[in-house]
Symmetry: D2
Subunit: 339 residues, 4 copies
């Protein structure tokens, strides 16, 4: 913690800041310059707010020096986290994994067809939504438990791991028997009660970045899960909200190498939500692999034009099958492989 | 729904769009211009996605014409919604209401002192957080049920209505006996399961705008509550996330008159979260009243420097007492009153 | 300048940072903590880049402590800058000034009518564009020199000071005889060659914030003008670009008190460009005065529906005449007056 | 042009809109629905503002149907623009070109060393700034004409084409004898006077996207140049400003395929300015090629730590030499080649 005092700060104001730093558990080093005094708080108090210092009388600026997250930081596990699944698939190692499937599970036929097609194209995971609260109260809201059962059945038949989104604490136990990875959607990235519960679970979590979340906030949300004892967390870039409206979101590809520098957790890319437009999914999937992502999650639907949700951003099976070989070439350029 | 076809669109592509419009329940009007064909879908299907048209072959652009919300729209109740409370206070009428109190309930002494002070300064509502999941897992997390009891007791003693934030469906029943208005925080603006449940409740809801939410999305979230039968909803501007970092958020004051034009629901302003800095709360509170808001919600703490959360944005009781008379003058300029 | 080293930083890496700091002219204070080393560079080198430190090996974070601007900072002139005009009008004092007029000068009749009407309603300044390069090459581009002459003539006839936008260095000398205040538009806020030339001029400058400019960048642009010796600079909030599209820009009202804290320069508000919509100009003008601005610049056109540019955001003379008395009431709430 | 009227719009209001459309040169088609009336203006008036309709009484929404740009649109030249240089290099064809060199020309030795190294690594273009107005008035401002001469000499010696930034109309003639491509920087993307003059030049232009510019605005700026008769324009993504602060800008990689769909102009990527951090340049360069860019412009300095400007985002020659072979592999995945 660094606090730079205003040029005209009084000794009393400086003392107040020192006192507050000491109260929080910092050791304070004071540097008195010709124009201003700088106070460095050294130590690791469990919790404090930079803003509390910024509004104190006589303070010009305050800066946090240490990261607000500990367990999610790269220093905690410099070699990187690798998540292992029973069938030998790993995430965070040399392999770039492919997760694919429809936005929502709509029927047995649709999800089995999806599973067959994405497996054939090279995916290791089948994705599909069971609970789909939508931004309009008048839209399709998902098949619930039935969807989970179909996912598991399709996964078992075609040798695919299953990932699906959890939206509420009450759904955790319902989902546990059927899925291999819990997805936390962008809107729940700061649903801290849910994150805390997922810290108690012993299945991997795929935590998506909120559309207005900084990378630091994403890591702080991961910290909630890790702090509960669940260390198998992967993060996911899926687009942030900017002034550009041509694409639904602006996919922040640079977040991939940034997260990999700051954290030891694997980084997945979601070009479907990242762009919201089918014809932009392939270029952004390729860009993500080129930037070094550990996996992709892509919406693929047997018949995108008839999809009950997110059809506009779903690839057809043919488009997905054409994309994977391109990704394999790109993976070699960055020293990775795609099965 | 308007779909503009590309100049080079084929008849087959045009027919596909027409078919999709008809399938959704639209009547289609076709305008064939020299350079391009335009299709107008007239009617009110319950749900459709503009993006589904934008990715169709031969389509240049697609636009939604009618609002995606109905019950929240100004047309539904042109005279505006006025919410009445048992003690005669109204929101959405001529009066601009004041809601004030600490971020979190910290102790009996703190909340009773807060209630006494904000009442004396002119507030009609006491605010205070009971459940406080924070962005860091290492921060103070709230007093829970005990906080609710203290709020009610303090409110009754000093003649104040009570508002507190609900964060989960399971908290609704717990809170119901103690509060007069449920607040939904910015992070839950699109927690549609929670919104749906609040549609079943018979107490007013104060729905805050998400930091990355457009005004249209805010109204669509209100629609969820209204669609459940609870028409006593007020909306709240509390700052959006932009590139400017000096303030914690950028308070979108223009959202106040915009919402009031588009919707019949009352519009509250929260300059505390809107700025995140104590010294900017008063100017932004004044600006909000000048722009025509129906109420203010302001964090006031008996001793902001010792607050357990959000101290940096909390006013001292003296600052709040100085602000209210300024607001009264401004209210007269816009034909409103402050008690 | 503060540089926080990574936990695992080597002595060699620390030495490299110290050397770079010393090379730039800093005195270096080193704080060696249990977990990390922090280096404080004390002094005032004329120029350096924080980013140059952030990419050095072993560096976790680097922070600028002192403001990158000096002359524009509040410390330079704590009492605030007041700009005096020949006719007794002042900007930055107790009075809140009104600048009004059409986007573009279109004809003698139009600008004389505008002058008469805004004067009657209470304005001290007539505004009007002479050079109008527009975002489409197919739009009206302004009347040039003829417009300047008409502005001056209308100003002299009705007792109004004149402000108009300068877009290029070559226009400075052309404009000098006709105007009282040079406006620098948002798109030129970082046209540093133009700013440098305006530093040589002996007429006041109204510098508008760019739509993607932080407050710090606005002050740094002002520094360019001040560094040239022209201290009569006023700044202007006119909306920033955000994800919200209902309004053309999001007007950052909080920038008014923020600039007034950080700088001694007067702060003007432009609710016309700030919103882009006629019906939002009045509420945002009121909000700006309530937040403490030193002046307003508002587009007013005798017949907005027939304006050749920016008609959508221009008030009618009746709307402006109705607004000013409301502003007078609000000004009293903040200890200011409007003539 | 589509105008959707409010449900309660009167016939008089509808007539006003029709009249305005007709005045502008539109043919009007009226669709009267059960709930609302929709007016379609068909035709191609040279210039009009959507906002002018949005503020008319009785109007709910207005939408532009046709693109506001014509010459820059893909329809104008569906096969795409390919720019040919005297030495056989092309931009916009199968080849992905490499432009590299320091931010600023600092000395003969520095620019010759840079030229030698980037040529050896595979670049076709040498870049280097001659005029460097910086955001701080206290920073290095460039070598001017001397820099241009050195660039030309170095380019001729090592067989490299030359690109450098033009910042003012007066520099065009000065630069013309020395450079092969004029760069227009992000801050000048809407300097319409400069763009118009560049429309008269017969050398290619590299037009960079402004940090707050939408893709549509970028294309509209290109239209200015094309409208002057200079059709050899390439566009450049170099990062937009968002709320994320870890990187200097957020590079919008999706803009590459978006521009290539909407326009026939080649699309270059600038990962140096796009990220502002040396260690993120390589991943974003790879991502850009994977997304399909037609060229890269990258800052490379013989000794980045001693660079007089932008050192933090400059690659060392070794880093650049390591990157190019990775890019060659990725290019093959998208059917392109790198020399």
């Amino acid at each position: 913690m660094i606090v730079a005092m205003e040029q005209k700060a009084t000794e009393e104001q400086i003392d107040n800041v020192i006192e507050k730093l000491v109260d929080l558990g910092f050791n304070v080093h004071r540097t008195t310059g010709v124009v201003q005094t700088i106070l460095a708080g050294v130590g690791t108090p469990s919790s404090f707010e930079v803003a509390d210092f910024e509004v104190m009388s006589g303070v010009e600026k305050a800066h946090r020096i240490s990261s607000p997250y500990k367990l999610a930081g790269r220093d905690f596990r410099p070699e990187g986290t690798v998540i292992h699944f029973a069938n030998g698939v790993t995430i965070g190692g040399k392999e770039v994994v492919m997760m694919a499937g429809p936005c929502s599970v709509e029927s047995r036929e649709q999800i089995f067809k999806s599973a067959e097609l994405v497996k054939a194209a090279g995916a290791q995971f089948l994705r599909g939504g069971a609970f789909k609260p939508r931004s309009s109260p008048y839209s399709f809201q998902g098949m619930g438990l039935e969807a989970l059962k179909l996912l598991r059945e399709a996964g078992d038949k075609f040798g695919l791991l299953i990932t699906s989104e959890v939206m509420e604490i009450s759904q955790i136990d319902v989902m546990l028997p059927y899925i291999d990875v819990f997805q936390v959607g962008a809107r729940n990235m700061q649903n801290f009660n849910l994150l805390r519960e997922l810290g108690q679970v012993r299945k991997p979590i795929l935590l998506k970045r909120g559309i207005a979340a900084t990378i630091e906030e994403l890591l702080l949300s991961a910290e909630y899960i890790l702090a509960g004892g669940n260390y198998e967390v992967m993060l996911c870039e899926r687009g942030i909200r900017t002034f550009e409206t041509y694409t639904r979101n602006t996919m922040d590809i640079s977040a991939i190498p940034v997260v990999q520098k700051l954290s030891h957790l694997p980084m997945i890319a979601d070009p479907s939500h990242g762009t919201g437009r089918r014809d932009k999914v392939a270029p952004m999937a390729r860009a993500s692999v080129a930037a070094g992502c550990d996996g992709l999650i892509i919406e693929v639907h047997p018949n995108p034009d008839k999809a009950m949700s997110d059809g506009a951003q779903s690839l057809s099976p043919e488009q997905f099958a054409k994309l994977v070989p391109e990704l394999r070439i790109i993976a070699t350029a960055v020293g990775r492989t795609i099965a």
